[in-house]
């Protein structure tokens, strides 16, 4: 198994192990700020304690209720007239008889600044605690809202539509009727075994009405999520992005740059522009070297190579079909330079894999053509299977093809590797004697 497949398999196994634990690695989410939680169910009737003097009105109201089960606070005395109160008392008496329990009605304002924090239910529980008498407690507050709690009353109490005042601008119109109706409804409500109800939301302690729970940072799950999931994925993504970017850049570089000599700078699919530029540069260099090398043994070869290269260069022009001729021109120009520089009348043939690589250094089996071929140092060091990728390819009728497949003088002479009359044959091909 290759290294790549091994890594993939490892990751797959890791995921298989982690997936059952995925629900625990929740996406980082802050816990919603929770208002202070109510008392737990283990304490069904929490006793709310008040600062000294804060329960003045509880004392006042409960004392009054002990004497008279109907209590209307002086602040709301205008809400129920004499006749209304008389009717209300009659309804309370009837209800009391039917339920078999005392009935208390309280009409009192209950603002948010009260000791019950504006919660009517909490107020009734507090009154019941002080009065210490079970029964049916009904109250109306300054907004005209009703609230009913039954302490050990054999009825089931739920939500009643009467509980909200029908007209918020005139909350006390028909208050007596609503209270009486509520009492009648409670008599005819579903019977249930008498129970002591629970106060699930007791008022906040004094001074802590605005307290919010401190949000806690949950660090473990985002850390583990990053460690096991996002980190590895990001690493893999970055790695492949990097490889793609590097290959992109090197392809781009190969197409535009190619002025360096040697295997590193010689493209396998040269463009005509590159060949023209390189050819011009090589010819110019050879032209500069020629006049000073009169006595050089390689001068003869260099001069004829220069002629052939120059004619080839001009003749081929910018024709894509004659790419190989431009390659030949470059090879000849370089050979001329080598002949002069090394004082060698028979310079070495170029690398067979890609003649643009430069002069060959040795011969070896390339498996491209039968037998041994000259190769440059760089191609010599490569394994055989890597060579086909480096072969010079020129445009042909069916697409790019290796240079040794193109029929003509270049193949026949193998760029000078076969035979000893490379330049004459080129000149012959050009039609020059």
């Amino acid at each position: 198994m290759t290294a790549c497949k091994r890594t993939a398999a490892l990751l797959a196994v890791a995921f298989a192990i982690l997936l059952p634990a995925a629900p625990a690695l929740a996406v980082p989410a802050l816990a919603a700020p929770a208002v202070r939680a109510a008392a737990s169910a283990a304490e069904p009737r929490p006793v709310v304690s008040y600062p000294p003097g804060a329960d003045r009105r509880l004392v006042r109201v409960s004392t009054a209720l002990a004497r008279d089960p109907l209590f209307v606070d002086p602040e709301l005395a205008f809400a129920l007239g004499k006749a209304d109160r008389a009717r209300l008392r009659a309804a309370m008496a009837t209800a009391g008889r039917e339920l078999g329990r005392p009935v208390f009605v309280v009409v009192v304002p209950n603002p948010r600044e009260s000791e019950s924090q504006g919660r009517n239910e909490a107020l009734l529980f507090a009154l019941h605690d002080r009065l210490r008498r079970d029964g049916f407690y009904l109250m109306a507050d300054a907004r005209g809202s009703l609230e009913a709690v039954g302490f050990n009353v054999p009825r089931y109490f739920g939500y009643s539509e009467l509980d909200s005042a029908p007209d918020s601008d005139h909350p006390f119109t028909g208050l007596a009727d609503r209270l009486i109706k509520r009492l009648d409804d409670s008599r005819t409500a579903t019977t249930a075994p008498p129970t002591m109800p629970n106060l699930w939301t007791p008022p906040d302690p004094f001074g802590q009405e605005d307290r919010l729970s401190t949000p806690e940072a949950e660090l473990k799950s985002p850390f583990l999520l990053g460690l096991f999931l996002i980190g590895p994925l990001a690493a893999i993504a970055l790695y492949w992005a990097g490889r793609w970017a590097i290959s992109f850049r090197s392809i781009a570089r190969k197409e535009t740059k190619g002025t360096r000599q040697g295997a590193r700078g010689a493209p396998a699919k040269p463009t005509v522009r590159w060949l023209r530029r390189t050819g011009a540069a090589e010819l110019a260099r050879l032209r500069a070297m020629l006049p000073e090398a009169e006595g050089d043994p390689g001068h003869t070869y260099a001069a004829s190579a220069f002629d052939a290269a120059q004619i080839l260069y001009d003749d081929a022009g910018g024709d894509r079909e004659r790419t190989l001729d431009l390659v030949g021109a470059i090879v000849l120009a370089r050979q001329g330079q080598a002949a002069l520089a090394d004082k060698d009348p028979t310079p070495r043939p170029p690398c067979f894999v890609n003649p643009l690589h430069g002069p060959s250094t040795t011969r070896r089996v390339t498996k491209l053509v039968p037998g041994q071929s000259p190769v440059c140092e760089s191609c010599d060091g490569k394994p055989v299977k890597d060579l086909p990728a480096k072969v010079l390819r020129v445009p042909g009728p069916d697409g790019p093809r290796p240079h040794y497949k193109v029929p003509g003088v270049w193949r026949d002479t193998a760029f000078g590797a076969k035979g000893k009359d490379f330049v004459p044959r080129v000149l012959e091909y050009l039609g020059v004697d």
Binding site: A54, R56, R57, A79, L80, K82, S114
Partner: protein
């Protein structure tokens, strides 16, 4: 305390109105104010201290003008607000002076001065006091500030150039909560970044090292 409460109860029970109406309420309050010009409700112990009545009395005594104060949590609908109540009280009591009606937490109050006594520009002073105090300051604090502004004689200027309003307790608590939430969020992001770096960087290094090994 209980005896006093019972006493008050007896006095007020005698005044059960024949029918329900706002003027009945004014009658009742007027009766109470005749005996004590400062009436402070006991329905709001979270906003009013136990000695609120005494403190308000001391405060308005500085005004030098007869002042009637009603601190009550009962606010009506649109057509029966504090202004109507002040008018009715003035009718019933038939006394000049400054009338103040305010809710226990200090907001939604009204003031009017009747008569030709020492004019204190009570209207502007009250507006300035109302807007300078946080909305949950409490009636005692607002009345204190009102008295201070009225006595300064520059009520109009104070009203036009209000001092910055301090935030209410709720606002302070919410802001602190927001800050804490942001801090917690930052810490969570930090943890996430640390985990990602810890999980990703070694793997990336390993992949690069592997690649270099095979291409050399």
């Amino acid at each position: 305390m209980e005896g006093l409460a019972a006493c008050l109860l007896v006095v007020v029970c005698a005044a059960i109105p024949a029918s329900a109406s706002p003027s009945a309420r004014a009658d009742q309050l007027a009766a109470l104010l005749r005996r004590d010009p400062v009436y402070v409700t006991d329905h709001a112990p979270r906003a009013l201290p136990a000695d609120a009545a005494a403190r308000v009395k001391r405060s308005v005594a500085r005004l030098g003008v007869r002042t009637f104060v009603v601190v009550t949590p009962v606010t009506y609908g649109e057509d029966q607000g504090p202004e109507e109540l002040i008018s009715l009280l003035h009718d019933r009591l038939d006394r000049d002076g400054i009338y103040i009606v305010v809710s226990p937490n200090g907001s939604g109050g009204e003031v009017r001065q009747f008569g030709t006594g020492r004019t204190l520009n009570a209207d502007d002073a009250w507006i300035a006091a109302d807007l300078e105090m946080p909305y949950d300051a409490g009636a005692v604090a607002v009345i204190d500030r009102f008295v201070e502004i009225a006595l300064s004689g520059r009520a109009r200027e104070r009203r036009d150039n209000l001092r910055p309003r301090p935030p209410s307790r709720t606002r302070i608590s919410l802001d602190a909560h927001d800050r804490a939430e942001r801090r917690a969020e930052q810490r969570e992001h930090l943890a996430f970044g640390a985990g990602t770096a810890l999980g990703g960087v070694p793997l990336l290094a390993f992949l690069i090292w592997r690649r270099r090994k095979t291409t050399r």
